[in-house]
Amino acid sequence: MSRISRLPSSLLRTAACTGVAALALTACGSGSGSGTANAGSGSVKVGLITKTDTNPFFVKMKEGAEKAAEENGVELSTAAGKFDGDNAGQVTAIENMVAAGVKGILITPSDSKAIVPAIEKAKAKGVLVIALDTPTEPESAVDALFATDNVKAGELIGEYAKAAMKGKPAKIATLDLAPGVSVGVQRHNGFLKGFGIEEGDPSVVCSQDTGGDQAKGQTAMENCLQKSPDINVVYTINEPAALGAYTALKAKGREKDVLIVSVDGGCTGTEAVKDGKISATSQQYPLKMAAEGVKAVATYAKDGKKASGYTDTGVTLITDKAQDGVTSKDTAYGLENCWG
């Protein structure tokens, strides 16, 4: 919510500048120098490049980075692709940030492989590059990675689902992300591992891609129910997909007797866990990823020490129906730490 209340003033300011920029650029020239806070050329610059500008996960990431930039006395500039998968847009953003003289770039790669040449060029110019949330391929293409362990996130809800079924035979639907996207594959595989089954196990009766979208999640669930009406466990890549599945199950009057588990820990999703629509979710912490990233760049600027390797930013199982033998926190904790 805070981002919405924050929007008008900055929007107005920029809209004013836009109008001026478009119509009478020379008039804006004198005012803009003082209008932008980043006039001081001596300060350390940090760039944050997300997959999109609009996904709440990345909005939260940006908030975390802004706050950390203030605390560490560095200057943040942000950019994003136009859509999830916009590699060319991210390449352009990297180039422009390097031209702007950033000390470090934090990036959530849209395409783990395709972004690598651009990252290498930036690194060759002495820029520290850190991947957030999504690793590059190879992972060593960046200096460091700050991310959730997505396999672990899947494992937690897999273990939870197994315990909650209490030995009943499971008929599982998996509502996945998209082919070839590492985050989705890792969560999916983690879930199967946590549930104690392998890919191709007969208890998985339906698998569909959702793109992490609520409407597509609903369609996917409707189709799965058409195929196998007796589904009793639903794994979803994220909470929007889970809520779509819930809507489809509710239409069939099945919402009470099907276990839905998910990953992400967004505030809407955590509310849905509290309301009992989703049984459990694995919560991750985008704010922390960004904050750690900004801090690492500030450190690099100060004493030249480069962050390296993988830093797990943690994941927590959130549910109000705790199961024996599975560590979890309740939704009160979840809502305090949720994002979006």
Binding site: T14, A15, T18, G19, A21, A22, A24, L25, T26, C28, G29, S30, S32, G33, T36, N38, S41, K45, D53, E75, L76, S77, T78, A79, A80, K82, F83, G85, D86, N87, A88, G89, V91, T92, A93, E95, N96, M97, A99, A100, G101, S110, D111, K113, A114, V116, P117, A118, A178, P179, G180
Partner: protein, 331 residues
Amino acid sequence: MTATSTPYAELKAPTTIRRLLTQPTTGPLAALLLACVFFSVSTDQFLTGGNFSLIVQQVMVVGTLAIGQTLIILTAGIDLSCGAVMAFGSIMIAKMAAEGSLPPLAAIALGLVVCGGFGLLNGALVQKIPLPPFIVTLGMLNVAFALTHIYSEEQTVTNLPGPLTALGQTFPLGKTDITYGSLVTIALFLAFAYALSSTSWGRHVYALGNSPEAARLNGIRTSRLTIGVYTVAGLLYGVAALLLISRTGVGDPQAGQTDNLDSITAVVLGGTSLFGGRGSVLGTFIGVLIVGVFRNGLQLMGVASIYQTLITGVLVILAVTVDQISRKKAR
């Protein structure tokens, strides 16, 4: 033309200046120069040779698409499939050369032919059935998009052989590094500017856009001309595909998804009328640069990318408004 009511006439300016002021590219050029002045004053890094070279590199792919788009829009058509056709061409070239058995140059040639084939098909459907360009190219957008994803199996193609990325390499010019691809793009713009303004083919394209019926009655073979324009545009998308691969160093099945709209944006910002028959490819070059300069300049200032989208939107509406007003005056 009611000379007394136009503001320019009151200036009593010499004819050359008056002509300059009513040129469709004058407005866009002024906007571009003002933007450059603004960003030069606002940031230390904007006004450098390296940065200008960077901007041209960044716009060369959309720029090359936009040449084809300009040709089609001049005939009062539109092409929504250009980005998707380019993506298919690029994944084809990359895969054939990196994983298939084709030598790189043959893969490039094949990519050009395939993209040209898409253009030919677009043109034939628009002309022979006939179908509205909007619908034909919307369908082709989906066809090319799907083929890209089927053919690539959603996988990014890496480890490209050298000749595929040659155009992305740089050579030094003074203290600035210039990309070979930038030169190709600029050469294409100049070649098509010449072809449109100084050849009978170019005059026929304008005539076709102004009134297909009048063009036909004047002995122009409009059917062949239309199909030709779409085919040439397709070939240009093939060149754009090669530029894209050379720039990013990979074959990316997700590429080009907003390039159709970006190319139309460039055409409109460059003063070419969406109703056909008026405009120029040099205007389109200016339009492409306007977008590139704003994106680069705002990033240098530390402004988030969403505002670049906002500004581009405002500029497009302004550009179309100017086009409409000048059309009314011309009537």
